[in-house]
């Protein structure tokens, strides 16, 4: 199957294996691909490392576009657990909702979720940017170290628990803040960053409606006396 796949073609998950589809995507240095009949299959468009463009026509399963580097992946539907997990660069866009741990540990790139994200969105974020058009579930941005997360809807319980240096922007309500996470002042640099993120995500929202949250830097690990 993989021998016959040409660039800029539609790859059909129903007619071949996920492994064959991913192999075809990874063999391309550029080009645009459509992935048909995803049917919730796992690990679609995982581990891409070239500036290809991939559109998944339907719902994706676990770890879609995981470890993404340089590629631009769009899911026209929902994505399950761990979309864009450990992304390094590039863009991942989901037009529907996503399940838990979206963008977990992602180092770079932009993850756009047009619908809602469930629990643990941006957990252990390491530098990537996440923009969510809807709401995020509980324990989102847990231990987020670097990067930014924009939530145009509401945030669930324990937002930003044990957060380090990531910046969180939430338009709606926050059910509760996690340990050591506090509301912070929106300065000019933050408004600039927020406007830029919304613009790149293709979302329109009044930035004056947002509040910023981040670390109070009061936990044990922030005290120099506790350093090794």
């Amino acid at each position: 199957m993989s021998d016959t796949i040409l660039r800029n073609t539609a790859l059909d998950v129903a007619a071949s294996s996920v492994r064959e589809v991913n192999r075809a995507l990874k063999s391309a240095a550029e080009g645009a691909f459509e992935v048909m009949n995803p049917g919730g299959a796992h690990a679609l468009a995982c581990g891409l490392y070239a500036p290809v463009s991939v559109t998944i026509k339907g719902h994706a399963g676990y770890y879609c576009a995981g470890m993404n580097k340089e590629a631009s992946v769009t899911v026209e539907g929902n994505a399950s657990t761990g979309v864009a997990e450990n992304m390094m660069s590039g863009t991942v866009r989901v037009t529907g909702n996503v399940s838990q741990s979206a963008g977990a540990t992602a180092h770079g790139g932009l993850l756009v979720i047009e619908g809602d994200a469930s629990a643990r969105c941006g957990i252990s974020l390491k530098g990537a940017e996440i923009v969510v058009g809807g709401s995020v579930g509980h324990m989102s941005a847990f231990m987020a170290q670097a990067g930014a997360m924009v939530v145009c809807g509401d945030a669930g319980e324990a937002l930003g628990d044990s957060i380090y240096e990531a910046r969180l922007y939430v338009r709606g309500s926050v059910a509760s803040l996690g340990a050591d996470c506090i509301e912070k002042e929106m300065r000019a640099e933050h408004r600039t960053q927020l406007a830029d993120l919304l613009s790149r995500a293709g979302m329109t929202a009044d930035i004056s409606d947002f509040k910023r949250y981040g670390s109070a830097r009061q936990l044990y690990n922030f005290k120099i006396d506790n350093a090794y």
Binding site: H59, G61, S80, Q100, A119
Partner: protein, 303 residues
Amino acid sequence: MCGIVGLFLKNKALAPELGRLTALMLHEMCDRGPDSAGFAVYGGGDGRAKLVLLSKTGATDWQVLKDNLTAALSAEMDLETLHDHAIIRTDADGRAVRGWIIGNAPDVTVLSLGKNIEVYKGIGDPDRVAEDFGLTQRSGTHAIAHTRMATESAITTAGSHPFSTGADTCLVHNGSLSNHNNLRETLVSHGEQFQTENDSEVAAAYLAWRMSEGDTLNQALEAALRDLDGFYTFAIGTGDGFAVLRDPIACKPAVIAETDDWVAMASEFRAIAPLPGVENAKIYEPEPAKIYSWSHAGEGKAA
């Protein structure tokens, strides 16, 4: 990891398709739980009590059991056998039959009792279990199925899901409970009878007990949120209803899809993907600690 699926039909015209659709869903969850599988089908009945029994040894003399039951309960018993299972239909009180078997037939496990429900289980490949017990040909109003990756107790047929202890009530579970030993003792003191060491049987018995005390399904699930400790995504069936519940941390996956014709729940979307009309379904992830339930009496509306 385990795989769970549930299908609740709103459109009665789909009843003959229930088993086939459930088998398609179960098939997609095989690799989440290759150790064993089981399913519960609510297919109606003739008004008599119906018990599905499992021979733990595979060598039970069902005719002898039937004769002993007939004598002990002074009632007619109709017997049907299917592989290592048997189905008893009787006008006697189903609970009394269950109690007699648990007390007197140590090689037999009662998999289900009720006027509507039938539960079938087997170890090994879930597709083969479905085939052995004719899931595809079964019709009914709703069904629940499970593929198991064993964690809390041994891989046995009796330890496979669904678990059913009360009439027409059953439960499948992905997760593990941490307070099941304590809760089992409490339930035993209330007269519940257990047949395995499995934590999920305790959850099933807990709900059955609450409902036998007068709780509605939703009230029983409210109480379960308070009294059950551990990880869980449950799918629950009753004679007329279907429910989904996740613990407050919600580590164990779940997705619900709903159309005008059906409500489907599964560990993953790929189990829902083969259903007819799925492209127009409303698809969402059930929220932590929130009760989702449907009943035919309530015309398939979420509670």
